[in-house]
Amino acid sequence: MSQPAVQVRFADRRSAISLAAFAALLVALAAAPVWAGRDDLRLLGEIYAYVALASLWNLLAGYAGLVSVGQQAYVGLGGYMLFGLTILAGISPLWAIPAAGLIGALAAVPVAALVFRLRGHYFAIGTWVVAEVFRLLASQASALGGGSGTSLPATIVIAIAPTRAMREFVVYWIALALAVAILGLILWLLRSRYGLALTAIRDNELAASSNGVDVGRVKLVVYVFTACGTAMVGALIFLQKLRISPDAAFNVNDWTAFVIFITVIGGIGRLEGPIVGTIVFFALRQTLADRGALYLMMLGAVAIAVMLKAPKGIWGLVAARLDWQIFPLQRRVVRLPGSASIRNKGEAT
């Protein structure tokens, strides 16, 4: 038995540095209630929600090849579960968020059984039909205001924290924690055996399958995981808004079109892409939002241009030039110190 001369590692010095910088940024963001105003906090909270939604969609479409245009189904479901569980079942809003995630995961299993029968593009529109069904069912829920929706009652809002400032801080921290948790879980998933399988599926589904990857099972796991996360983010979004209606909760533009544009502009199939995309999206929105419809037309045009000219997105360009990653994800084979030479494959493993 000889010691292996090489080892697979994720991190290198540069990713360690950038990860440390990212951690420092997180500390600064967690302290935002100290240095930021109310409007800034609200904007940051919204940004976290989009980072989480886009990261989840990136996992689904960028890695598992499941191009869904119906993720608003789970955003809306999560939002409605927040309202239903707090108003009708008396559960605290903070517990309602994980509960919404669990319900989202449970709902995703039968939905997957149906929509997985559709291939490729038809899968995409099939997921949209499911979202429409969810929307129509929500507008039948007369206990939650039917088609016109409802607001979160003051008693429930006060249960989060007694003062308005404190409530805003709590919701802000939940948003940050949820986004970081989702990013962390995706990182963990991608570094696990599933991650290897997913990367293989992303690169070539047929080859992955012929190398023993159970493609159907991996896709199902990713679909259910994404539904769970998306439903939690949905619950959070409507905890930020305090008001829900079927049209807002199951809006294809807000929760799917923008999320897809963000992911593609930032860089699909890379963990950093959705974060970069969200920053670009909000930068554009802050400068052009008063142009209304023209802004949306421009966003659509930018997304089309990026897809045609730079299909790997902004981060794809950066990563290709600099071979740089913030999150330690790429598997690198390194020589262990002290070993004389890299032996041939048979001995090394």
């Binding site: 149906l114 559709l118 593009h121 593609v264």
Partner: protein
Amino acid sequence: MEWANTIVQGVLTGGLYAMFAAGLSLIFGVMRLVNIAHGDFIVLAAYLALVVIETLGVDPLVSLLVVVPLMGGIGYALQRGLLNRTLGDDLLPPLLVTFGLSVIIQNGLLELFTADSRRLQAGAIEVASWQLASNLSIGVLPLLQFAIAVAVIGGLQALFYRTALGRAFRATSDDPAIARLMGLDNAHVFALAMALSLGVVAIAGVLLAVRANFDPAIGPARLIFGFEAVIIGGLGNLWGTLAGGIVLGVAQAIGAKLDPGWQLLAGHLAFLGVLAVRPEGLFPRIRG
């Protein structure tokens, strides 16, 4: 008799859905492209007809003489200039680009025409109907629309299986590389398919706009109806698509009869039911 009335109305609406579906099915069949903006093109055609009618003072059906070639031209240019570049093994580019087009068309129409709902006026024909029995009457306009839908689908069927262009469509659909070897210009064939698809869309859009109110936001729902009709009927079968449209129309009519809030839901449930029980559709194309 009341139910017979409901079902007849559903069947007639189904003709319109089949036309939404035929355009969608055509381009998917020829170049594996699903056009997310399909519904928005239907609405665009309705607004083009509105402009033509207001400037020329013609009847909606006459406006088709302008709107159909115009939409066909847009389709050809769009496919050649933009969509051909998205075709390939990866399904994301066509999906994202047509999604982008959908957002652009919707918001462009919103800028130009506001969110107010509009309708095309067709005059006396709108209210004319035939009384078949005490409780059963058929509107002349819905019947005309259904007849046009059948004619369009029959025409597409004939074009696909009887003409040189249809042969080119089927050849590129079967194997684009071999089709090119045989001297076909795929970019041109695909562009013609998109032109034809948007020509059908133009007819469907004008007929829709005569019968119901429209505004810039109703496109996506039309896409979904068309898609459901394609899947219910079975992929690759145009007459099946007509049957799929009728199943969807009847399901919606029955749902609406039970409770107005159930109209759309009943249609979606019929679709999901078919998907659960017979995922290949009711009338899949026979292979060979």
